[in-house]
């Protein structure tokens, strides 16, 4: 893409987010470089999704600043659909629309294009995420969990946004599909200079596709860096996460 650009796609400084008396994110700072795939790990209920939703603007923050593509984010931002695509954990497909209409929805709302091209783009996106054209006229209620996820990805990618947020993208996919999915994210990331912010527990994804991994514990980023560095980290939670029985087994297999 073009020359003089910000080095960082997302910059989070001193972010504080809480509900009631509980503070979930406590002066958290995080930089996501342009064109990288950043994996975010953290304990369940530890604020990973909260961080993602705060960056997107769904949750109000108590303090701190967030910049996306060099632009500060304040509350709800207009035109956000073209800035990022989001894959929600449960897919969040519109249940009254068919798969095709779901994928076309961002196109229809943001661009002016012929119905024919819109159909072709929708099918193209669906095939890119590993679905067949025959699935296009199904309703979300008729889809399996894995298919729902793929349709949601197709919809998130409909406008080829520069930033893609993924909330546990590979959960619910079988290992083969998850692998394909990781490869697809890689392809898109390479071709479009896409920045991917991925909340995940899938150690295979973390190892194979993530350029860097950030670990969230106690409301802060306690470690960030390539997977190799995180494995060396001395932080007790990070050690427990990557050197637990399950993780050890997987890493052993991968070596």
């Amino acid at each position: 893409m073009s020359e003089h650009q910000e080095e960082f796609a997302i910059r989070v400084r001193d972010l504080v987010v809480g509900f009631g008396r509980q503070t979930v994110l406590d002066h958290l700072s995080l930089d996501v470089r342009r064109g990288e795939i950043l994996g975010l790990v953290g304990a369940s209920g530890g604020g990973k999704s909260v961080l993602m939703r705060t960056i997107i603007g769904l949750i109000p923050r108590r303090g701190g600043t967030i910049e996306v593509m060099g632009e500060p984010i304040g509350g709800r931002t207009r035109g956000a659909a073209t800035a990022w695509g989001i894959l929600f954990q449960q897919g969040a497909l519109f249940s009254s629309l068919t798969v095709r209409q779901n994928v076309q929805f961002p196109l229809r709302e943001n661009l002016v294009l012929s119905p024919e091209l819109m159909d072709e783009i929708a099918i193209a996106k669906l095939e890119m995420v590993g679905l067949r054209a025959q699935d296009a006229d199904k309703y979300p209620a008729e889809l399996s969990g894995g298919m729902t996820k793929r349709v949601a990805l197709a919809r998130a990618l409909a406008l080829d946004p520069p930033i893609l947020f993924l909330d546990e993208p590979t959960s619910g996919l079988d290992p083969i599909a998850a692998g394909d999915f990781d490869a697809l994210i890689r392809t898109l990331q390479k071709t479009l200079g896409l920045t991917v912010f991925m909340v995940t527990h899938d150690l295979a994804s973390l190892t194979t596709v993530c350029d860097r991994v950030a670990a969230l514990a106690d409301g802060k980023i306690v470690a960030i860096g390539p997977m190799r560095e995180l494995l060396q980290s001395e932080h007790p939670w990070v050690r427990a996460y990557f050197h637990g029985k399950r993780s050890q087994m997987l890493q052993h297999e991968m070596r």
């Binding site: 893409m1 073009s2 073209t82 249940s95 009254s96 196109l107 661009l111 002016v112 294009l113 012929s114 091209l117 072709e120 783009i121 099918i123 193209a124 996106k125 095939e127 890119m128 067949r132 054209a133 025959q134 309703y139 979300p140 209620a141 990618l157 406008l159 080829d160 392809t187 898109l188 390479k190 071709t191 479009l192 200079g193």
Partner: protein, 378 residues
């Protein structure tokens, strides 16, 4: 980023060279479509088409697809097309796009509209039979649940029953009383206004008393309860069904009818007669106020007239209908709730169906009761 996208075409003999330039991205889609359409005729004429991609500054799936579509058009019927100068960082995307839209299924043939209507009619006919079956099944299941509770009274979900009674009985009292009060007042006002013309004002009290106690009190309250509590039942059970809570209950060896439906329907059957009574009294009170301030009839006369006009029979006729109406509302609301499928839309649809159907059935039931009571002389 920078300028508008361009598409330069240079033809030599039957060879055509296309050179797209600038940002071929979704933001410029209108221009892209125009550009690709403008070279369409030339592409069809040429035998060899070369797409020189070296001038492209930005490319996304949409832009890549528009170019790929051009190349497919060029490559059809034995001619050839190729991409040259594809930058490294675009090659992955171009490869991806080459794979898609290869197997488009033939569009489904549009069905005959007449057949479609006939089909709908047939479906709804069969559907009506299914509705009746479901109603009877639910009635049977409830009966069995009641038998089970009678055999072992400790299995009654008392907490749930009391909670439902609180929600649909106690909390409904203010609105039920307000609306029936207004209805009673309106009927009395109409009676005084129209009966005054032939000097039959005093019969207004007869009309208010009989109408409210026999028909309107219970009917209005039943319709309100169908709208207020029936819809709540359907939505609750429906969302529980959507989130597999009902399946979870079944797998734990519990019968959803015992746990969820019986307390709800029982609460309705208990609460509706009470609400109907409160509603009737509120309506009579409303009538009385109108008699005093509009009909110049003091409370003492109003009560005395009422005493002459109505008997316990009128009250019995009204209140006897209430539990049956409650049963119908409860069964319809719960069975519609269980028919909710996975989507939010279906939840909305079943809730609407539940309210419409239960109000319809309540009115039909009221009509049947009217015939019945007339024929036994009550």
């Amino acid at each position: 980023m920078n300028t508008e996208p361009l598409l330069l075409a240079t033809s030599s003999g039957d060879a055509l060279k296309l050179r797209p330039e600038g940002p071929w991205t979704a933001a410029n889609v209108a221009t892209l479509e125009t550009l690709s359409r403008s070279v369409g005729a030339e592409v069809d004429r040429s035998r060899v088409v070369t797409l020189d991609m070296s001038g492209i500054s930005a490319l996304d799936t949409l832009g890549a697809w528009v170019l790929e579509k051009l190349s497919r058009r060029a490559a059809s019927s034995g001619r050839s097309a190729e991409f040259i100068g594809v930058a490294d960082h675009f090659s992955g995307l171009m490869d991806e796009v080459r794979q898609v839209n290869r197997h488009t299924p033939p569009p489904a043939a549009a069905p005959n509209p007449v057949l479609l209507r006939l089909g709908d009619l047939g479906k709804s006919t069969v559907g009506a039979r299914e509705d009746i079956t479901i109603f009877l099944q639910m009635l049977g299941a409830l009966f069995m649940a009641v038998v089970g509770v009678l055999r072992r009274p400790q299995t009654l979900r008392l907490t749930s029953l009391v909670y439902q009674l609180y929600r649909i009985g106690w909390q409904a009292i203010p609105i039920v009383a307000l609306i029936t009060f207004l209805i009673g007042a309106i009927i009395a006002q109409q009676g005084f206004f129209h009966f005054r013309r032939f000097g039959a004002e005093s019969y207004t009290v007869d009309m208010v008393g009989i109408l409210v106690l026999r028909e309107l009190g219970v009917l209005i309250v039943a319709i309100m309860v169908a709208g207020r509590s029936g819809s709540a039942y359907t939505a609750e059970l429906g969302s529980m069904k959507m989130r597999e809570e009902i399946d979870a209950l079944s797998t734990m060896g519990l019968d959803p009818v015992d746990v969820l439906i019986l307390p709800r329907v029982a609460a309705l059957v208990i609460a509706l007669p009470i609400l109907a009574f409160i509603g009737s009294i509120a309506a009579l009170y409303g009538g009385g106020l109108v008699a005093q301030f509009y009909g110049d009839m003091g409370p003492a006369i109003y009560i005395a007239r009422l005493h002459e006009a109505i008997s316990v029979t009128h009250f019995e006729v009204g209140i006897l209908k209430a539990p049956f109406m409650a049963l119908v509302i409860g069964i319809v609301a719960c069975s519609e709730g269980l028919r909710v499928k996975g989507s939010a839309e279906s939840l909305g649809r079943q809730t609407t169906t539940s309210v419409v159907k239960s109000i319809f059935l309540v009115i039909v039931l009221d009509g049947l009761f009217a015939i019945f009571f007339a024929s036994i002389g009550m």
